[in-house]
Symmetry: C2
Subunit: 252 residues, 2 copies
């Protein structure tokens, strides 16, 4: 809606891929060098962009501070955290918390496994949306037309042979998840890693976040992991209740 701002903001994802110099930025934006310079300067003044000693630009530190403050404003996270830690204490595996926003699912909290073999993931990283247990839970709660719209827009990368192959399969899986109230990812993202997850609901029953427990095959089999399901669901329900209590209906 605002061309100038639009151009300026387009610089950020561009720099996220790695440092770039003025010429590169200008070229990839399709604008004159002097224009790019002025946009970069403005971003710089706000700390979103940093100029390295070789003159190239990269993303700036203020970005962290902002992301930090943003995450601290998410009350689900605050409420959930201690419960996630408690769950990790009991089972030892990696615990994740994720939300859905603007067609993306992303982790907003994580408690690391106590086992030496850890899976790679990171708060803030977009989740593999077609296979992750938390993604299924969050999308399953959308209305039917929304689900279809999203499902059709997605790519279905075959991380493994067990990955969700296409929109039809994904929609079917979402229906199952919606019905049963929990979800799994059995080797769909990485061959040797399994997850089980449960939804966290607001006072109105809508899914506002999802949590999961992940563990590699070498530590526990999928069957053993599934025995944790009741515990995971109970934890999710506890968080839901606490969240609903804190966020009274119709009060802002």
């Amino acid at each position: 809606m605002s061309q100038t701002v639009d151009r300026a903001l387009s610089i950020l994802p561009l720099l996220a891929q790695g440092p770039a110099d003025l010429g590169q930025v200008a070229e990839r934006l399709g604008v004159h060098k002097s224009t790019a310079l002025r946009l970069l300067r403005t971003l710089h003044e706000h700390g979103l962009v940093y100029r390295q000693r070789d003159q190239r630009y990269r993303l700036g530190a203020r970005l962290f501070a902002l992301a930090q403050e943003a995450v601290e404003n998410l009350d689900v996270r605050e409420i959930a955290h201690s419960h996630l830690v408690a769950l990790n204490d009991r089972c030892g595996h990696t615990v994740h918390l994720a939300v859905y926003e603007e067609q993306e699912v992303l982790y907003i909290d994580k408690v690391e496994s106590r086992y030496p073999v850890r899976m790679y993931s990171r708060i803030g990283k977009p989740v593999a949306i077609t296979v992750a247990a938390v993604a299924k839970l969050l999308l399953a709660d959308l209305t039917e037309p929304e689900r279809r719209a999203v499902a059709e827009k997605l790519d279905y990368p075959l991380y493994t042979p067990r990955s969700t192959p296409n929109a039809a399969a994904f929609l079917k899986e979402l229906a199952v998840v919606r019905e049963q109230g929990w979800a799994t990812d059995l080797g769909g993202h990485e061959e040797s890693i399994n997850c089980i997850g449960a939804p966290i609901r607001g006072a109105d029953g809508r899914v506002i976040a999802a949590m999961s427990v992940s563990a590699p095959n070498v530590v526990v089999t999928a069957e053993e992991l599934l025995t944790l399901l009741p515990l995971v669901r109970r934890t999710a329900e506890t968080i839901s209740r606490e969240y609903s209590g804190a966020n009274r209906p119709r009060k802002a």
Copy 2:
């Protein structure tokens, strides 16, 4: 340099303090509602701002993704991480890694203490710059006029009676740190927590990052903590060497 972009970006820190509606944003920006609307829409399209169900705006999820990618581009962090983990394995305490950028010091990595009593800190959070060991190390490496300029611009909050009280004391402390090549924070931020830190240097000898080990009094006394100093310094030097190797002088 660009008024429009400047205004748009000013919205972000504003929203960092909490959700706000259109009117509030417009007022605090000093522009007309319609202008604010268009700026917010642009931010929204880029995912930096999210519109909650009560129509209010808050910071968006893309911000995390960006911050995440930003931190992954910092090669110091990548190189240092395994060494920080190893250090934590040996001593058990919380280990931090921090950098200086644009008048701010911030944590870019952290390995949690193995002890049950943990200190509060978070990657991305700006560091208490006048007292933290890592901050002293990073600032001590600036040129004398730079140090003076920064020292005079800072506030000196008295977190505890042992906090650095003013610019003069801070500059004196920086001189000491610069001389000895390591730094401490003995109860300057929180009464019961002590830290020791060491600098990480690039190929040209300049300090590019700083690391520290922190532990509360109830776990180890300050004297005991200081016995770890040689280990901390060795770790910092190892990281420095590796970093200097990876970043050859005058290349890229």
